[in-house]
């Protein structure tokens, strides 16, 4: 997923940065993690820098446990292989996912429902699956990760019409209809989603109903404004938490991990670069090469 470069009012960090730092807490040391490109990857890199130095990141291209010396711009970037413990095939990585070797996966999406079902295939709008208003990338490895990984963390910007009662297309199964054992009945092996980290707060899933509820809110955000951006009557935790401000070293590490600010800053930052040489220079500098 892409980041946004607008700082939170009265703060020295952006919502995207807070998302990355908040979600990095979801990784445990020694786990094997299947993370997507963009903010999820930055979160994984941060986890390795701080509380989970032995976290192994896996890429569907076939890279297992690389040293994160460079930020990747796609899962097939050669940087994904830097000093990897194992360089293998895509089909082996998916087989290992199906075999239950991977603990956590982080996914983004365009549409999400209250049971954590994700849509990354198409926004139908006036159209349908064949002729949608917006054709999205499709599953990629998302459906596979959501089906088989130990637990799933979802990262999405909290915007109107993205958190909906019913998604146009279930690309990646969450808790399906929320009924007990729904995933097992379908033949799914993984545990499904446990958290949704957004640009305004963190949601978790109720153990009985498997319905999403607001668990943590970001500084300067009102519960009402979150409820307005959600397409159903949102439950809020009685002990609603306030996300702590990131530590300075966390922000520094985060910004260093994306030295050209191309992940968090997007196209805007790209234009700020003088050219390829500056990109090469900053990449080598961050890697200490």
């Amino acid at each position: 997923m892409k980041g946004s470069s607008l700082p939170i009012k009265g703060k020295n960090y952006t919502a995207s940065e807070l998302m990355a730092i908040t979600s990095c807490k979801e990784f445990k040391d020694w786990e094997v993690a299947f993370v997507g490109i963009g903010i999820p990857l930055i979160a994984g890199i941060l986890a390795k820098r701080f509380h989970a130095p032995n976290l192994s990141i896996v890429y569907e291209s076939g890279c297992i446990g690389p040293e994160k010396l460079r930020v990747d711009f796609n899962v097939g970037d050669s940087s994904a292989a830097d000093g990897a413990l194992c360089l293998t095939s895509e089909w082996h990585v998916f087989g290992d996912l199906q075999r239950g070797f991977y603990d956590i996966g982080v996914l983004g999406g365009a549409q999400l429902d209250k049971y954590g079902n994700l849509n990354t295939t198409a926004i139908f709008g006036e159209g349908d699956y064949r002729r949608p208003a917006v054709r999205l990338p499709g599953s990629g490895g998302g459906n596979d990760i959501g089906s088989s990984v130990g637990r799933v963390v979802i990262m999405m910007g909290l915007e109107k019409n993205r958190f909906v009662e019913k998604v146009d297309f279930i690309t990646t199964p969450g808790h399906l209809d929320g009924s007990p054992g729904a995933r097992e009945r379908a033949g799914l092996l993984g545990g499904g989603p446990v958290a949704v980290v957004t640009s305004k707060g963190v949601f978790r899933f109720h153990p009985e109903t498997r319905e999403m509820y607001l668990d943590t809110i970001y500084p300067g955000v009102e519960v009402e404004e979150i409820k307005e951006s959600v397409g159903w009557d949102l439950m809020v935790a009685d002990d609603l938490k306030l996300a702590p401000d990131p530590a300075g070293e966390e922000l520094a590490a985060l910004r260093a991990a994306d030295p050209c600010n191309l992940i968090m800053g997007g196209a805007g930052s790209r234009k700020k670069l003088s050219g390829l040489e500056e990109f090469v220079h900053l990449t080598l500098k961050y890697a200490g090469r």
């Binding site: 490109i37 097939g76 970037d77 050669s78 996912l97 990338p137 459906n143 596979d144 690309t171 196209a267």
Partner: protein
């Protein structure tokens, strides 16, 4: 194949594409974004090949170019997007507006596509997989079949073998016999090479067979899978090639920017594809100094 042809499969990219890729062919490409052979894609566009059915996992750069250039009729695959950069503009125009042509889409997951190529490579009709269950992928794709396990376990999804007419796969090293050696991640290439009817093996370096024999464990694709060998240095640019050159994120960002309009894409295509008679001209247009910088960057991290 004649004996001499078995011993030396070397061709130019123009010959290899002209001989093995026809309008209406089903086709797959090696690599996984990195190691995608973009040079072959440019040649397919130059030769005006049409109505391709592309069967693949995540192949954004390849597909966005081919679809924008009007070469593709059908997509059976899993992912067409630019990750951190954004959506694929030519894909969106084709699916949402039928521009330049409508694109027939059959959605799969990456694991499903991987298993389809594994089945094709093994020459078995199907593979079982535990993905797509409970999702709408199955609702719109009737070729995914839920099957009861005859050995008494929970239900599984079956996916049919993929058997494309052609595969184009880029390796770091190859000999003229067609042994392809790959470093870094290998994607589904070992199985694509076996599943396809014909294989065009492109490579960064052409090496003598004795060098292949010294590191037999690196031979991902044995000679008997391969029909044509083509030497194409920097064949993946702007994507990366492990051990040879890094990804040019700026060039790709500019491409994404430019292709937001149909006109912008056509200008890009004229400049970088139709405007270049072959891959060497494309490299010159990109700039050898730029390619050298990316080679220098990659070798700071991965050397073969």
């Amino acid at each position: 194949m004649s004996d001499s042809a078995r011993g030396n499969k070397l061709m130019t990219l123009k010959e290899a594409i002209g001989t093995h890729v026809k309008s209406g062919s089903s086709i797959t490409f090696g690599g996984f974004i990195g190691r995608d052979c973009l040079a072959a894609v440019h040649e397919i566009i130059r030769q005006g090949i049409r109505d391709l059915a592309v069967i693949d996992d995540s192949k954004t750069d390849v597909m966005d170019l081919l679809v924008g250039a009007g070469c593709v009729r059908r997509w059976e695959g899993a992912y067409l997007g630019y990750g951190a950069i954004g959506l694929a503009n030519n894909i969106r125009r084709a699916v949402e507006k039928g521009m330049p042509f409508p694109l027939e889409v059959e959605d799969w997951s990456n694991a499903a596509v991987s298993m389809r190529f594994l089945a094709g490579g093994l020459n078995v009709p199907f593979m079982a997989v535990r993905s797509m269950l409970g999702s709408d992928i199955m609702k719109y794709n009737s070729r995914v079949k839920v099957m009861e396990d005859p050995y008494g376990g929970p239900p599984v999804a079956l996916v049919p073998a993929a058997r494309p007419d052609v595969a184009v796969i880029h390796a770091q090293r190859a000999d003229v016999m067609g042994n392809g050696q790959v470093w870094g991640f290998t994607g589904n290439d070992e199985n694509k090479a076996r599943a396809a009817g014909r294989v065009i093996l492109t490579c960064e370096e052409l090496v003598p067979t004795e060098q292949i024999r010294r590191r037999g464990n690196m031979t991902l694709i044995p000679f008997y899978c391969v029909d044509a060998v083509v030497h194409v240095p920097y064949g993946c640019y702007p994507q990366s090639c492990y051990g040879y050159y890094a990804y040019d994120v700026l060039f790709c960002g500019d491409y994404h920017e430019k292709t937001k309009t149909r006109e912008g894409f056509l200008e890009w295509l004229d400049h970088y594809v139709h405007g270049c008679k072959d891959h060497m001209e494309y490299c010159a247009r990109v700039g050898w100094d730029r390619l050298m910088s990316l080679a220098r960057l990659e070798r700071q991290f991965n050397r073969i």
